[in-house]
Symmetry: C2
Subunit: 338 residues, 2 copies
């Protein structure tokens, strides 16, 4: 495994961003979001997504110069147009606006249309938690999942993020509404390993743990079967309707042209209703009760969402951040040519 120091990862990504024509301060922010995602162990949505991001810029789906603009709003709720700008920067701007609205009104919301892949959704949950706020946000995606009861993909795997600020480490849920991503299925299929639980249907229409069979049928499961299917659908409805943007069924199916997404960002400022110390004690009580549960496997303590992230971050800062050698060489090679 190739590991590189965080600063080197960041610097290399920054140079690559500048080469794409992104303005300096925005390039720094975009590189930071990519680098932190890989640093935190969310390998699928950091450096490894960079080639797809470059393709999306090259084919015109992402306009690196566009910035989001407010197009409507009242009080604590606003509608913004992402103008097909850079997905992670648009998302960060929108969450920051929701945070500002929440600081004024207790709660704030931004519905964003016309944006691009936000990469790691957890980034925007962390962004709010680091400022002491709770956050709920989600995005729609291209149609990559059959709804429950269907064989053809009509819903997205629309990730949902819920973030809870906590002095001892923020708790951040970042879950796609599919049980396994196509990326995860490919990994299991490549290793010839069975999925830990049913992940989809085979070509005969039976539930299976065989990742290759699911890749063949293109019928991965929504998380919780009918539950994740319904959740994904209503998230698409809320995002597209409030933003006035595209719904999943209207988004191009080519992943490098997946553009015009609709997203929701909600922030809640707890200082408007209570005391931070009291809330922190409540959080500690909940996590302590979780830690005190009897583990199914004595070697595996029960974890809260985001706990592994904090461990991986520490490890990767200490040992260097793991990178895919091929992608790393490609990006650092390109960048050194600048």
């Amino acid at each position: 495994m190739l590991r590189v120091p965080y600063d080197e990862l960041y610097g290399t990504l920054l140079r690559a961003m500048l080469r794409l024509g992104i303005a300096e301060d925005r390039a720094a922010e975009c590189a930071r979001l990519f680098a932190e995602t890989t640093r935190d162990g969310v390998y699928t949505h950091g450096l490894n997504r960079f080639p797809r991001f470059v393709a999306s810029v090259a084919n015109g789906s992402t306009d690196v110069k566009a910035e989001p603009v407010k197009i409507a709003g009242m009080g604590a709720l606003e509608r913004w147009d992402g103008r097909r700008g850079i997905g992670n920067l648009n998302a960060k701007t929108s969450m920051q606006r929701a945070i500002e609205l929440a600081k004024t009104h207790g709660i704030g919301g931004v519905a964003l249309s016309n944006t691009n892949h936000w990469m790691r959704g957890g980034s925007y949950g962390l962004q709010a938690a680091e400022q002491g706020l709770f956050a709920i946000c989600w995005t729609n995606t291209l149609a990559n999942l059959p709804a429950w009861g269907a064989t053809t993909p009509t819903i997205g795997n629309n990730p949902l993020v819920i973030a809870v600020p906590r002095a001892g480490g923020h708790v951040v849920l970042d879950m796609a509404t599919s049980q396994f991503s196509y990326g995860a299925l490919a990994g299991y299929a490549k290793r010839g390993q069975a999925l830990p639980v049913d992940g989809g249907f085979d070509l005969a229409g039976n539930l299976t743990r065989d990742a290759a069979a699911i890749e063949a049928s293109q019928r991965p499961l929504p998380a919780g079967y009918w539950k994740g299917s319904g959740l994904s659908l209503v998230m698409d409805m809320v995002a597209a309707m409030l933003s006035g943007g595209l719904a999943t069924h209207q988004i191009p199916l080519d992943p490098t042209r997946e553009s015009g997404l609709s997203q929701i960002f909600l922030a809640i400022d707890p200082r408007s209703v209570g005391d931070a110390q009291e809330m922190n004690q409540i959080a500690e009580g909940i996590l302590e009760s979780l830690r005190n549960a009897t583990p199914a496997d004595p070697g595996k303590p029960v974890r809260y969402p985001g706990e592994q992230t904090l461990q991986l971050r520490e490890e990767n800062m200490r040992l260097g951040v793991p990178v895919d050698p091929e992608i790393w060489e490609q990006i650092s090679g390109d960048a050194s040519a600048v």
Copy 2:
């Protein structure tokens, strides 16, 4: 199957409520919520829950005279104390307050502590949708579910409700974060029928579709395994922290004494950001794309959350509302004695 006209169901419940000492207008509202839940086919949370509600009043867990009070707030976010009042009335009052806040600020939120079982969560989603608003709400519950990786129950099956207003019928997701409730497991076990998908672990720790084996192990599954587990945990954290109320691990384990719940009610007024007709068109487009999906079973069209509710409501208004004969006799017998 015994079916009774809706008006008779409502009238009988109303008389039963009055016998419990509930004030007239509140009794009417409480009876209406119970009756509508059964009318809409959510049989587990309407009339069939009434005996447990009576027990909760009798043992002092529910104070029929208590009404919720605001204890803190700023702008669009408020914290209310439910004072151990009637769960469905407290929830309705809280959602109505969130709706009022949303009408003023675009978005509004109420965190409610110290309340009781809200019965059918979808009621409060419908309440907002009928007034043209979107809603997100959830509750915590007693600990009835092992977290992913644990064998002992530390999380609740915390239901999540997301409601989308729509001219042609509101779309209302109302999902518990367990894959199957204990009520559903009991039904399958009684009929000796296999669950359609894995519903939990057996005593040997293997995933199973055998409902009786899951009842024996007391290890039902979170919906989506680790996903529903994480979702349930963060919902408990947000509800308890923002309301300053109890978390799942602090709630009494006896279902008739399940009290002091924490709940979140968010409402969004779409008129503050866009045009209702445009949004309705977006909704129709999404549902049309769902209907156009190829069904796995040609006889079963793909449905949206809440679609079955509308069909059952129509059928039950036409044919009479199905009631459990034993519970019906008990309640109507008691009520006629007043």
